[in-house]
């Protein structure tokens, strides 16, 4: 088994989840790496869309921001931001939306707005950006986040984007027809929603990670599917492609 970091494992698991015919709304950081690794390995036809308006981008290096020139130059086409949110996201054209966040609860609701009282914040976070509408208008949502007690919380101070709702029932009750978060991919394991309670439940544990470690880094007592397995380790090809694009990116942005 090749040597790999937990962050690499997280990115590669996310890449594996993407299919050739997906139309994917990409955020920056891990999702961008995952989407482009998928494109370079098993999903050459995947359509990557960045909220800056670029459709069908095939960047050679990873963008630093969602609006880099590389995204536009390699895109099939570029549209305005209002059109992106109206025709493409709200239009229901996106099959997979990627989200991350500062804090998450067991029903995959996410907070990226504020810690403490909204009007007298302890920590002011960046805010929702595209997330509130990505969460409901994409076919399904993949979330990537590194685990930790300050990030994986029993209860959020603020819901920036809805997962399955505060008790897991609200999404359905509100009549939202898209699936919401179907995978929560962390640096330690992969969660999927329990089909009945919608609680994010551990489907597989990454190689070398223990249940104790997961418990220590989770603000609630995590549940496991009966058939919870070990996440297949990154293949040599997966690692090579990921490291290669990251090296190209580093070289390009340093220049």
């Amino acid at each position: 088994m090749a040597d790999f970091t937990r962050n690499e494992m997280m990115t590669i698991v996310a890449a594996r989840a993407l299919k050739n015919d997906d139309v994917c709304f990409v955020g920056i950081g891990a999702p961008s790496a995952a989407c482009n690794v998928a494109r370079l390995i098993h999903a050459p036809q995947i359509t990557l869309i960045y909220e800056s308006g670029t459709i069908g981008t095939r960047p050679n290096v990873l963008p630093l921001s969602i609006g880099d020139g590389e995204l536009c130059e390699t895109a099939l086409c570029t549209v305005s931001v209002p059109e992106m949110f109206r025709y493409w996201l709200q239009g229901g054209r996106i099959t997979v939306g990627f989200l991350g966040g500062a804090q998450i609860d067991k029903f995959a609701n996410i907070n990226t707005t504020v810690v403490g009282d909204y009007h007298k914040p302890k920590v002011r976070l960046p805010g929702g950006g595209g997330a509130p509408e990505i969460a409901t208008n994409c076919g399904e949502i993949f979330i990537t986040m590194a685990m930790g007690k300050r990030a994986f919380l029993e209860k959020l101070p603020f819901i920036t984007s809805m997962g399955h709702g505060p008790t897991g029932a609200e999404r359905r009750a509100l009549g939202v027809k898209s699936k919401g978060p179907t995978r929560l991919i962390t640096d330690m394991c992969v969660f999927e929603p329990d089909p009945v309670t919608m609680e994010m439940t551990i489907r597989s544990i990454h190689p070398g990670v223990t249940r104790e470690e997961i418990a220590e880094n989770c603000g609630w007592t995590p549940r496991y599917f009966d058939n919870c397995s070990e996440t297949p380790a990154p293949t040599a090809q997966e690692l090579e492609v990921l490291r290669d694009i990251q090296a190209r990116t580093k070289a390009a942005h340093a220049a």
Binding site: G53, C72, E73, R124
Partner: protein, 282 residues
């Protein structure tokens, strides 16, 4: 009708204390030079509107130009926090900053509604989230056909819209290409406008990546400011100066370091200083 003038005159004529001002540019073509001129001219009590308040709004807010921020995502993209905005929101420094917070979809729709001369925008959004609880501007309408309840936001109609674009022809028609964000909508939604451009040309040569043209009669002031989007980028002219974004994290963490930087690089400079940036990273 477009009028070519110096950036100093354009800001003096068009931006007034207490105005609502939208400076847009989605990562690309951010109007830094114009923002610096607003700071130099000491404007106060502005309501600043922007989907992604980043470094230029960090600077404006840190210098005390704004009473209120209307936004949907605030941060130093790819780097981290906008420390001056956080200091204003968390600690009221240099003075309190009111915020009106939306999602990107709502902000984009609000500009679109403004450009369309509608008083509000309808969107399939804000479902199951907490923002409507803290932002009374988010309301709803019921579809007269299906009974579905949809979110609404008021249209943005800024007093002043400010953008940076690639070029203008001599008549004052302006071309934007590449990632155009919501800049066309900002110009059409605003009462007054300032556009800084990299250069003036005889012919726009419009067909290009996503080329968007603003006719001269939709524009107020145009100022040629080479490099005016630095440290962001201008497709076809110069690339993004990533090192600046990284360096800003350190500059902006400390109030005194920030103030010293602003004095040296903004207050004691003129728009011409931007030309050097255009060359450096071309």
């Amino acid at each position: 009708m477009a009028k070519f003038m110096s950036l100093a005159d354009a800001v003096a004529e068009n931006v007034r204390d207490g105005d609502s001002v939208a400076m847009e540019g989605f990562t690309h073509l951010i109007p830094f030079a114009a923002g610096h001129e607003v700071i130099r001219q000491g404007r106060k009590h502005l309501t600043l509107i922007r989907m992604t308040p980043d470094l230029i709004y960090d600077q404006l807010i840190g210098m005390g130009c704004a009473d209120k921020l209307v936004f949907s995502w605030g941060g130093n993209p790819g780097v981290g926090s906008t420390h001056r905005i956080r200091d204003a929101v968390e600690n009221a420094w240099p003075h309190p900053l009111a915020i009106e917070e939306h999602s990107h979809a709502a902000m984009a729709n609000a500009y679109e509604a403004g450009a369309s001369n509608l008083p509000f925008a309808v969107l399939r959004g804000y479902i199951g989230v907490d923002l409507p609880k803290v932002n009374p501007k988010i309301k709803s309408v019921t579809c007269p056909y299906t009974g579905e309840v949809l979110a609404t936001v008021p249209a943005h109609r800024p007093d002043v819209g400010i953008i940076h674009a690639q070029r203008a022809d001599r008549e004052g028609n302006v071309l934007i290409e590449g990632i155009t964000g919501c800049q066309k909508e900002v110009v059409l939604a605003s009462k007054r406008t300032i556009i800084t451009v990299e250069e003036m040309v005889d012919k726009l040569d419009a067909p290009s990546f996503n080329s968007t043209v603003l006719p001269h009669w939709t524009i107020g002031a145009i100022s040629v400011v080479k490099g005016g989007a630095h440290p962001s980028y201008a497709q076809g002219y110069y690339t993004r100066d990533n090192s600046f974004y990284i360096a800003w994290d350190k500059v902006s963490r400390d109030r005194d370091t920030f103030l010293a930087w602003m004095k040296e690089n903004v207050l004691d400079k003129t728009p011409d200083a931007f030309a050097a940036h255009a060359k450096r990273s071309a």
